[in-house]
C-alpha cells in the first residue's frame, strides 16, 4: 500500500531525507520515529505529493510518485492527513468546518451529512458541533482533525504527531481511535515522538534520521535483544562469577529472588550474550556443567527506547 524506494529530498542543498526506503503492506500501521528535524513531516508531505521529491520513487494507494497534477489529485483523494496543528477555522462551528473539508474531498451532501454525524457522535463531539471551533479544547480539536482525516474513507492515512500536546486522557482517546482505524484495515503511517504510543499501536517501526536507521516488525525488533535470564535453585553467585570467563558472555550478574520465603531459595542470573540465538544453548550447557539447577530460561526483549536511542545515537556519531 505504501512503497518507498530511495526517496530523497534536499532544501537549499541540505538533505532533509536521504535514500529512504521502506514498505507498509495494506492494513498495517507503521510508526515512523525520529528526533525533531529527522525528516518525518517532509516524508509525509512527499508521499502526499505536496512537495516534490529530489530523487527516488514511491507508490502510495496505487499512485506512483512523483505525481502529475492529475495523479496528485487522485492520490490526495485516496489518502487522509492529520497535520500536527488541527488547522480549522476558529470562527465557524466544528460541524461547518468538517462539512467544508468534506466538500473539498468531493463528498456529496447526503453522504457528508450522515458521515459527519456518525463521526461526531463516535468521537463524542456531537454536543459541541455548533460551537465555534475556536472555543473547543485541544483534545476536541485534535479529534475533529482526526475525523477530517478519515471522513472521505481513505485507504491510507498519514498521522503527524496525533497526540502532540494532548493531556493523558486526550492522548488515550486519540490512540483508541487510531487502534480502531487500524482494526478496520486501513493502512496508517504514524509519525510520532511518543515511543510508548508506537509500541502500543504499530505493526512496523521505522527509526529515521534523514535516512532509515532501523525498520522492521515491532515484534521482531523487540526480540532482537541480547539479554538472557536464567532462574536457578539455590545461590548462584559463584556461578555468575564463573560464567564471566565464558567467551560469549559479555556480562553476568546474580540476583536473589525478591521473596525467598514464598519461592524457596532462588537466584536469577542476568546474562548479556554476544548473539542470543547462537549462544543460548552453549551458555545453558555451561550453567548445567557448573552445577546449576535450571528452573527457567527467558530471553529478554529489547525495549523500543533502547532500539531508538541506539539507532539515533549511532547515526549522530
Amino acid at each position: 500500500m505504501i512503497r518507498v524506494e530511495n526517496l530523497s529530498r534536499s532544501f537549499d542543498g541540505r538533505p532533509a531525507v536521504e535514500g529512504l526506503s521502506f514498505a507498509v503492506p495494506e492494513g498495517a500501521l507503521c510508526a515512523l520515529l525520529g528526533p525533531n528535524g529527522a525528516g518525518k513531516t517532509t516524508t509525509i508531505r512527499m508521499l502526499l505529493g505536496l512537495i516534490p521529491v529530489s530523487s527516488g520513487s514511491a507508490e502510495v494507494a496505487g499512485v506512483a510518485l512523483p505525481a502529475s497534477e492529475e495523479t496528485g489529485a487522485v492520490l490526495r483523494a485516496r489518502v487522509g492527513l492529520l497535520t500536527e496543528a488541527p488547522g480549522f477555522y476558529d470562527k465557524i462551528s466544528g460541524r461547518a468546518n468538517l462539512e467544508l473539508f468534506g466538500r473539498l474531498y468531493g463528498l456529496d451532501e447526503s453522504a457528508l451529512g450522515s458521515r459527519v454525524e456518525h463521526w461526531l457522535r463516535r468521537l463524542e463531539l456531537w454536543d459541541a458541533r455548533e460551537r465555534p471551533f475556536g472555543t473547543w479544547s485541544k483534545g476536541m480539536k485534535q479529534r475533529l482533525a482526526l475525523i477530517r482525516a478519515v471522513l472521505h474513507e481513505p485507504r491510507v492515512i498519514f498521522l503527524d504527531e496525533p497526540t502532540s500536546g494532548l493531556d493523558p486522557a486526550g492522548a488515550r482517546e486519540v490512540r483508541t481511535l487510531i487502534a480502531g482505524l487500524r482494526a478496520e484495515g486501513r493502512t496508517i503511517l504514524l509519525c510520532t515522538h511518543n515511543l510508548s504510543e508506537a509500541e502500543e499501536l504499530a505493526d512496523l517501526i521505522g527509526v529515521m534520521r534523514q535516512r532509515m536507521l532501523v525498520f522492521g516488525p515491532r515484534v521482531a525488533l523487540a526480540a532482537g535483544g541480547t539479554r538472557l535470564e536464567i532462574e536457578l535453585a539455590g545461590d548462584a553467585g559463584p556461578l555468575a562469577e564463573a560464567l564471566k570467563s565464558v567467551s560469549v558472555v559479555s556480562s553476568s550478574r546474580a540476583e536473589r529472588a525478591s521473596s525467598p520465603a514464598q519461592r524457596g531459595d532462588l537466584t536469577t542470573l542476568h546474562l548479556t550474550l554476544d548473539d542470543l540465538e547462537r549462544d543460548t544453548p552453549q551458555v545453558i550447557r555451561e550453567v548445567v556443567r557448573l552445577g546449576g539447577e535450571v528452573l527457567a530460561v527467558r530471553r529478554v526483549g529489547i525495549s523500543l527506547e533502547e532500539i531508538y536511542l541506539r539507532a539515533v545515537g549511532e547515526a549522530a556519531a
Binding site: 505536496l50 497534477e69 497535520t83
Partner: protein, 271 residues
C-alpha cells in the same frame, strides 16, 4: 471545480471578512463615500460656479475652462454643464473602489490560511492549485464588484435627484459611465485581486501582506483608473477596449499565479 466549491469558499471568505477588522472598515467607508460624493459636489456646485465666474480662484477658473471645452458636454447652463462633468468624472471613484476592496481581500486570502494553519489541510485535499486560486479570486472579486455596483447605483440615483434639485434636470450617466461600471469594474477587480493573491502567496504574515498591498494599491489605482478608466468615461469604445485589455491581463496574471503557486514554498517557508 464545481459551483458548490466556489460558493463554499465565497461564504467562508465573506464570513472571514465580517470578522476581519483590518478589512471590513473599507467595505463600509468606501460605499458611504461613493454615495455621499455626488451629493457633496452638488451641494457645493453654486459656490464652485460662482468662484469660477468671478475668476478669483485659479483652480475654479481652470475647471470652468475644462467644462466649457469638454467635447462630451454640450448645451445647458454653466451650472448644468458643471454638474454633468463632475457627475460623470466622479465615476472614477467607482473604479477605485473595486481595486482597493478586491486587492485587500485577496491579499489576506492565502496568508490568513497560513496563519490559521488551514492551508496544509486544504492543500492535502484533491483541490488543484488552479481551483484554489480561482475560488479565492472569485471570493475576493464578487463582494467587491457587488458592493461597488450597489454603491454606484445609489450614487447615481443620488446624483439624479441632486441634479434635479440643483439645476432642474435629470443628469443620466453617460454611455462611457455605463460601460465602465458594468464591464471595467469586474475586470479591474480581477486584476487587483490577482495582484493581491500573488502578494498573499508570498507573504507569511497578515500585517506584512497588508502593508505591501497598501503600497501596491496606489500605483495600481493610478495605472488602471487614470490610463484606462479616464478614457473609458469619455468614450464607451475606449471602455470596451480597456475591458478587453484588462480581461486578457487578468487571464495572463491568473495563469502566472497558478504557475508560480508553489505548494512547497508555502508549506516549508511559513513561520
Amino acid at each position: 471545480m464545481t459551483r458548490d466549491i466556489l460558493l463554499l469558499f465565497l461564504r467562508k471568505e465573506l464570513s472571514d471578512l465580517r470578522s476581519n477588522h483590518q478589512v471590513w472598515p473599507a467595505y463600509v467607508l468606501l460605499p458611504i463615500v461613493a454615495v455621499a460624493l455626488p451629493l457633496i459636489i452638488l451641494i457645493a456646485l453654486p459656490a464652485l460656479t460662482d468662484a469660477a465666474r468671478a475668476g478669483h480662484d485659479a483652480g475654479a477658473r481652470m475647471i470652468l475652462e475644462t467644462v466649457l471645452n469638454d467635447p462630451g458636454i454640450k448645451g445647458g447652463t454653466i451650472e448644468e454643464r458643471f454638474a454633468r462633468v463632475l457627475l460623470r468624472d466622479i465615476e472614477m471613484f467607482y473604479l477605485v473602489m473595486p481595486v482597493i476592496l478586491a486587492s485587500s481581500a485577496a491579499a489576506l486570502a492565502l496568508v490568513r490560511e497560513k496563519e490559521q494553519r488551514t492551508l496544509e489541510p486544504i492543500l492535502a485535499t484533491p483541490l488543484r492549485d488552479g481551483d484554489l486560486l480561482l475560488a479565492k479570486l472569485i471570493a475576493a472579486v464578487v463582494p467587491a464588484v457587488l458592493l461597488t455596483w450597489v454603491a454606484a447605483l445609489t450614487g447615481i440615483v443620488a446624483g439624479l435627484l441632486g441634479g434635479w434639485w440643483r439645476v432642474g434636470v435629470l443628469i443620466l450617466p453617460t454611455a462611457g459611465n455605463v460601460v465602465a461600471l458594468l464591464l471595467l469594474v469586474p475586470v479591474m477587480a480581477a486584476v487587483a485581486a490577482l495582484a493581491g493573491l500573488r502578494v498573499s502567496a508570498r507573504f507569511t504574515d497578515v500585517p506584512g501582506a497588508m502593508q505591501f498591498t497598501g503600497l501596491l494599491v496606489m500605483p495600481l489605482c493610478l495605472v488602471l483608473v487614470a490610463l484606462i478608466g479616464r478614457p473609458a468615461m469619455m468614450s464607451p469604445v475606449a471602455g470596451l477596449g480597456g475591458t478587453a485589455f484588462l480581461a486578457l491581463l487578468a487571464l495572463w496574471l491568473f495563469r502566472r499565479n497558478v504557475r508560480k503557486f508553489k505548494r512547497e514554498e508555502i508549506l516549508t517557508k511559513w513561520r
